[in-house]
Point group: C2
Chain length 315, copies 2
């Protein structure tokens, strides 16, 4: 029987909120972006690309979370750090920055393309409170791994992360760490086999959000539709004290490509998020890359997302 | 110009030294084996398979390092450990056990097939001095990774390992750890692009051997010859204080399939080692799996191997 239609994520009607035209210089696309709210203002770290396929992390500021103003220049890479330069090409690496405030320090995790697209590792930066200066910490995974996301606080005395090893399984895993440098006790969190809309790959999205019911995590999934892959968003809820345990995962894709700016771009049929903001009134703002070309915004009620995990779970 | 022939590894003339016939019950192959020397005797942990393709780790004892006697039963897996059972199938997993004595405790690293052959992680056991009881420690890598080898002592205050992530690069990497559980600071040690005989994949072999000149490591490499892959052995020398630095790597394959028992078996054209013993007179015994079918033994002079790394380096 067909379930009733249930739309719990709604697009901002002015989408896309950010495009290449908003940037100075030779920028041809802006899409997957991390974001934090700081002193009531929104600070976005957007992935931009130029016509030579150079990649940049570009900070954009906003008072209302809708109108963003890119700064004059992208973030400078720590090119004076030999380790960074050995592993991470300063403009050719692959970035989907996740930004998190952890014990008062801002961190950025990103997918570092260490071998010209053949393989990827998770890299960790610190960034100062003004989002001006990146400091390279280290690679925190072996290849091939991406979609690394730090939890925003210690859990049971340890730091935790989610990631998506690029093995043949393409599932979501977690690891934990005493210090953000050394990671261990890898556990599979969610298998893609649960999700028809993510039957090829799934991966962590934005930074997990603490709720009374558990860690709410927006995730992405990839399915094959005829000849092409389609990237959609979903949601899962993890145990507060042990995030390796899934309490529920919505059987539905909460956002899937259906607008022209999601269908068409340098990658077709993609919605992908690595940044969300939970407002005090319970609204979740989901910033997402559309078709690897522009940035879109969508809204959801956090309670609806939790309910979808628990009442309509694919587990 | 063709270099002069230089054979620095010589097979034992009575090869193979161990075959399936030497084992009780339904064992159809015995090949890649870890080994230690303890109180003047040789203790081998061999990978065995049965006709249902069940895998076993089987301890075999020897006084002379040539005649090995399998114990009556293979090692019992820690099937009462829920974590082990969740990730590692007790008879269907994939094993290439490396045995090491680290601070008086014996450890076994192995390749744990966590998803029916699709992907692999490095698992860590402890084993008692009598090699009778395995204790599961944890998985120490995310998927997809194998050929995990622990160094036999702390280096610059940390534990170290080599491994071979199964990304698209198939290179040799190292990581370090304060406690054998949490691992970090991943570094590429050697790229397969250096080695024609390992142009497809390379990987760590047996436990690194401390010499005055550096850590001597027997490695394996895979090349494509027409339609099939060929597994050969090589040797590299790493910096004593920082094993992420390669001092030299022999441009030659030191052992490549050339005997019938290396050409033919359930895998054709394979020599692979995960166990060596350095004798007091400077002889290195290389125990190796041949064609994934039987165990062979070869001898080398440690000084010749070091010289081959330094005088004939591919770097």
């Amino acid at each position: 029987m067909v379930k009733p239609k249930k739309r719990i994520v709604n697009r901002f009607e002015g989408n896309p909120i950010l495009t290449a035209e908003d940037f100075p210089g030779d920028i041809v696309s802006v899409f997957n972006c991390g974001i934090v709210k700081k002193d009531g203002k929104y600070v976005m770290v957007a992935r931009c690309e130029d016509s030579s396929f150079g990649r940049y992390m570009w900070v954009c500021d906003s008072d209302d979370g809708i109108q963003f103003t890119p700064r004059p220049e992208p973030l400078a890479m720590p090119v004076d750090n030999p380790l960074f330069m050995e592993y991470v090409h300063p403009t050719k690496s692959y970035w989907d920055p996740r930004v998190v405030n952890l014990e008062g320090q801002y961190y950025i995790t990103h997918a570092a393309d260490v071998t010209n697209g053949a393989t990827c590792q998770i890299g960790l930066f610190k960034i100062d409170d003004d989002f001006q200066t990146l400091e390279w910490v280290d690679l925190i995974s072996l290849p091939d791994n991406r979609n690394g996301v730090l939890f925003p606080e210690k859990i049971s005395g340890e730091y935790w992360r989610l990631d998506r090893p690029n093995d043949n399984s393409f599932d979501i895993w977690c690891s934990r760490s005493p210090d953000l440098i050394y990671w261990g006790r890898p556990r599979r969190v969610l298998s893609k086999s649960c999700l028809d809309w993510g039957e090829r790959k799934i991966g962590p999205g934005s930074v997990p959000i603490r709720t009374e019911q558990g860690w709410l995590c927006i995730i992405h999934g990839v399915r094959r539709q005829c000849t092409d892959e389609v990237y959609s968003l979903g949601v899962m809820l993890l145990d507060l004290d042990d995030p390796s345990k899934v309490l529920g995962c919505s059987t539905r894709a909460i956002l899937a490509p259906e607008k022209e700016y999601e269908f068409l771009g340098q990658s077709v049929n993609v919605v992908f998020t690595n940044g969300t903001i939970l407002e005090d009134d319970g609204t979740l703002r989901i910033y997402y890359g559309a078709a690897d070309q522009v940035v879109g915004l969508a809204f959801a009620r956090i309670d609806d997302l939790i309910e979808s995990c628990l009442e309509d779970s694919a587990l």
